[in-house]
């Protein structure tokens, strides 16, 4: 085949302008210069193609060749993705380190995302036999990719017809044909390896309402601001408010089957932390090492900005692929602000007209497109599968100012808002999620699940707990004017109970073995003990007992209750019930 070739006429940072490239296509991948650096065509003007290069362009000269590849930026899909770490354009970073024998990411390295030299045991589907009709998304067999993930092999999109051959159980590489499909006399080989254009959402049959909670083991999230499987959320926060710790906790403890963690323009050490920690930590839901369900994408802040822009799409395409197998996938992007800045930088080099704060005017439509790729869906193909992609993006507003463009636009497309608060972080109240400004639109939708599976009183307890916190917030304003001692007795009780809730329920130490992950049952029991304390103490207050007396008489038990989050493990929850009883009893003695 004739190679499509042009030549460089201008270089400005990561933007290269080439002329003479025949038939360029928007978002086609181009290889730039003698070193064949990877780039993407982002604008076409007459004979000129504007190419965004994903690697450093230092040393490139006008006149050097540019090659068109004819295909858009594509993601490789197949067994072998789980447990890997990729850069923003899906190059495998571990193998880059092994191949280059360098601790640095050098230029011009090309390695395939899905390893070709590895063999997998393929087991053909028992439902299918030669002669059956198959279409896109139909499962023809599986590979056990990790002990946690059975990787269902699906007929790729664009292929349908009569199955004429399917390989028997055995070891195959991802490029070996494992089945043949015939249509109109044409025979197509089906392989375990597929490709999909990163910027195009993968199709599904039907979108469903997200009604199951995505449990995270974090009390303030699960109880007050729940996420739903297939939902969307944002975590905005200034620096040092704990975005990354919260996202790591989400990636570690969520009851998703597959987790994709994108480090998009963030710190290198944060990815290293995940790489070192995840193999040694166990998924609380399955007891297996976390790495067996995790894919990492690391395009750190000092790696090329253009690849940072691509990393989000590469990640979400992989998420959709596992969704199509029927899995619940959680995708965490840290941080979407850095991604937006990459957009801004590229737009600036293209000399596009800037909108707010220099961001391009299409910022909001790009954000919308991204978050729209979340959802709980019926996948294409047989047998019927329901899978979901849950998207959570960190937002890093400059100066912790939530009115800046990325935060305000993001808010329009997400349903859960976990607002991190600088003041809480300064006082080391972690997770520093502000319970006044945060919200979740899924509280009603997940109530059914909690009532059915954990506790029928969940909603009642949650609302009581939350109303105490809301009332405390109002009272704090008053306390600032008149001092705590001048409050009415019922209000003093609110303040006291809110303190217990803040210290003993909302605070959660992500590094404490016992506290880091709270099972749904533990959350409800702690919550019940606190609400019970309030209700029983309220009766005493109403009958004239001062809060001071209640505090003095119950101090030891209350301290015990506050510490229960890190002293009582998920396996010994009876102890919380028992503590609850002792508190109730002690209170009744005061009354008597």
């Amino acid at each position: 085949m004739q190679e499509r070739k042009g030549r460089i006429i201008r270089i400005s940072g990561s933007l290269v302008v080439a002329e003479g490239l025949p038939m360029p296509q928007m978002y086609e991948v181009a290889e730039v210069g003698e070193q064949r650096l990877v780039g993407e065509i982002v604008r076409i003007d007459g004979d000129r193609s504007y190419i965004q290069v994903y690697e450093s362009t230092s040393g490139l000269r006008p006149g050097e060749p540019v090659y068109g590849t004819g295909s858009p930026l594509s993601v490789e899909l197949g067994p072998g993705l789980i447990g890997q770490i990729f850069d923003g354009i899906q190059r495998p970073l571990k193998r880059i380190a092994e191949t280059s024998k360098s601790i640095f990411v050098l230029r011009g390295i090309k390695l395939e995302a899905v390893p070709r030299d590895r063999k997998y045991v393929f087991t053909p589907s028992k439902e299918l036999k030669p002669g059956d009709k198959v279409g896109p998304g139909d499962i023809i067999g599986y590979v056990d990719e990790t002990p946690l993930i059975r990787h269902w092999i699906m007929v790729p999109h664009g292929v349908s017809g009569r199955l004429i051959e399917i390989s028997p159980e055995g070891e195959y590489s991802v490029e070996d044909p494992i089945a043949y499909v015939e249509a109109n006399g044409e025979k197509t080989a089906v392989r375990m390896l597929q490709k999909w254009p990163a910027r195009r959402p993968r199709p599904f049959k039907e979108k469903l309402e997200p009604e199951l909670p995505m449990l995270t083991g974090m009390r303030i999230l699960d109880t007050l601001f729940p996420m739903a499987k297939g939902g969307t959320g944002a975590i905005p926060g200034g620096f040092g408010t704990g975005k990354t710790v919260t996202l790591h906790s989400l990636a570690m403890w969520s009851d998703a089957r597959v987790v994709i963690y994108i480090g998009c323009g963030e710190r290198g050490n944060e990815m290293t932390e995940v790489l070192e920690k995840f193999p040694t930590y166990k998924d609380p839901w399955s007891g297996r090492p976390l790495m067996e369900r995790t894919i990492l994408i690391a395009n750190t802040s000092n790696m090329p900005v253009s690849a940072r822009e691509a990393s989000i799409y590469v990640g979400v395409t992989m998420a959709e692929y596992y969704r199509d197998m029927g899995y619940d996938v959680l995708l965490v992007a840290d941080s979407t602000s850095r991604w937006a800045e990459a957009l801004r930088e590229i737009a600036g080099r293209l000399e596009e007209m800037p909108a707010e704060e220099g961001y391009p005017s299409y910022l909001q439509s790009r954000l919308a497109e991204f978050y729209e790729r979340a959802g709980r869906v019926i996948a294409v193909g047989e047998p019927k599968r329901i899978g979901s992609v849950t998207l959570v993006g960190a937002v890093s507003p400059p100066g912790a100012d939530f009115t800046e463009p990325v935060t305000t636009h993001t808010r329009r497309f997400i349903r859960v808002f976990w607002a991190l608060d600088t003041a809480l972080a300064y006082s080391r109240h972690y997770p520093a999620i502000n319970w006044i400004t945060s919200y979740s639109a899924y509280v009603d939708t997940v109530t059914g699940w909690w009532a059915k599976n954990v506790d029928k009183d969940w909603r009642d307890l949650r609302d009581s707990l939350y109303s105490i916190l809301l009332r405390e917030n109002e009272l704090r304003e008053i306390v600032r004017l008149i001092g705590p001692e001048n409050l009415s007795e019922p209000d003093k009780l609110i303040m006291e109970t809110a303190r217990i809730i803040r210290e003993g329920f909302l605070k959660q130490n992500a590094y404490d073995k016992i506290d880091a992950f709270a099972s749904p049952q533990k959350q409800v029991k702690l919550m019940r003990a606190m609400v019970n304390f309030y209700r029983n103490a309220k009766k005493l207050v109403d009958s004239g007992v001062p809060v001071k007396v209640i505090r003095e008489k119950t101090q030891d038990l209350i301290t015990e209750l506050i510490k229960a989050r890190f002293t009582i493990p998920n396996e010994e929850l009876d102890k919380i019930d028992e503590l609850d009883r002792r508190i109730t009893e002690r209170l009744s003695q005061i009354g008597g």
Binding site: S58, G59, R61, I103, F239, N269, S301, A425, R480, Q555
Partner: protein, 467 residues
Amino acid sequence: MQTSQYVEYETIKEIRGPLVIVEKVGSVAFDEMVELELSNGEKRSGRVLEVGLGYAVVQIFEGTSGVSTKGTKVKFLGKTLEVPVSEAMLGRIFDGLGRPLDGGPPVIAEEKRDINGFPINPASRAYPEDFIQTGVSAIDGMNTLVRGQKLPLFSGSGLPHNMLAAQIARQATVRGEKEEFAVVFAAMGIKYDEALFFRKFFEETGAIKRVAMFINLADEPAMVRLITPRMALTLAEYLAFERDMHVLVILTDMTSYAEALREISSAREEVPGRQGYPGYMYSDLASIYERAGRAIGKKGSITQMPILTMPADDITHPIPDLTGYITEGQVVLDRGLYNRGIYPPINVLMSLSRLMKEGIGPGKTREDHGDVSNQLYAAYSRAQELRGLAVIVGEESLTDTDRRYLRFGEAFERRFLSQGFYENRSIEETLDIGWEVLSILPESELTNIKDVFIQKYHPRRRSSGGS
């Protein structure tokens, strides 16, 4: 000269701020180094910022004053900006472009390296976890520094950040180890007396033999400021990853660096982001700060301590803000504390060390470290809140417990935070002082500390424990 083989051009078309646009050039590479020869024979250097067919935009490091479109020769050197690196650079003083300032001989390069370096592969990094004892309680106890971390000092003009940086450079040790260490010091746009302070300090402590200094003073061209930290870090990478040394890099003042970046951006007529700073400032700062850490299979490490002065003490200003998003925490100096005579005036509530958790605990510092630190934070933040309240409603409207918090707050600042410039506290001393001030509070308030540690370390328990 080997450069003579390169073609010279006298085709400058336009000069705009620090930029020179050269026409009718042949094959020029992006990022290539350039030498300018003025009609009076003076030489200047620069590099290619943009290149097209037949033209190149060149940024001149020393500025364009006196440069004319006529009679100036432009030479493209056929290479990107490289710096010679060598162990022999320790003990030497250089200008912002790496030329000796100390009258010593030119450096004989063991290797030449591109000053931009390459990003460290996240899969090749090793997570920093070795506790560095700085001897400063506010840092060791509550914002622990570990080897391979990048921890900036956020300061304000006139605050003692140089003293603190010097104290840390002098006292920092990894306990139980005697390993090769080095300090690489890069000064961007600082005043002469500040440069002198560090130089004298390194000389007095005898550390000068292990220090390489790169100095770009405030009256020197802004362009050089963009090069200086990269020079320093290229040397640091060489020393750490090829020569197995533990390198502490001090970069001061990053505010001057960021201002130089803005100057060039506006000369290039780029679309500005916040407050006129370029939209890519985050990525640009990251390309400096991320050059820190440890790597798998390498003995050495790079620990970075950038210093920046917050304009108008405003932590939300783009420079500290973007820095905080990249670095692994920050140590914030506070004018209020300084005015009350507290040294080091570290605002612990605003400070943070993200890598602390891996560097502390049994075997590294002490088992109660994490809990004590959490409790000090919680209590001091409560004390601060109550101070504000007491001003309005009066101390008498507070509860007994609240008044104890106020006493705790005072003691915390006077006993724990405050220490001498030459006072080098061990981590045990730091934690014991922490307990001492915490014991002002009722024990029921210590909800962040596990009972076993209270039994073992609480002063009241310890004094009664023996009887």
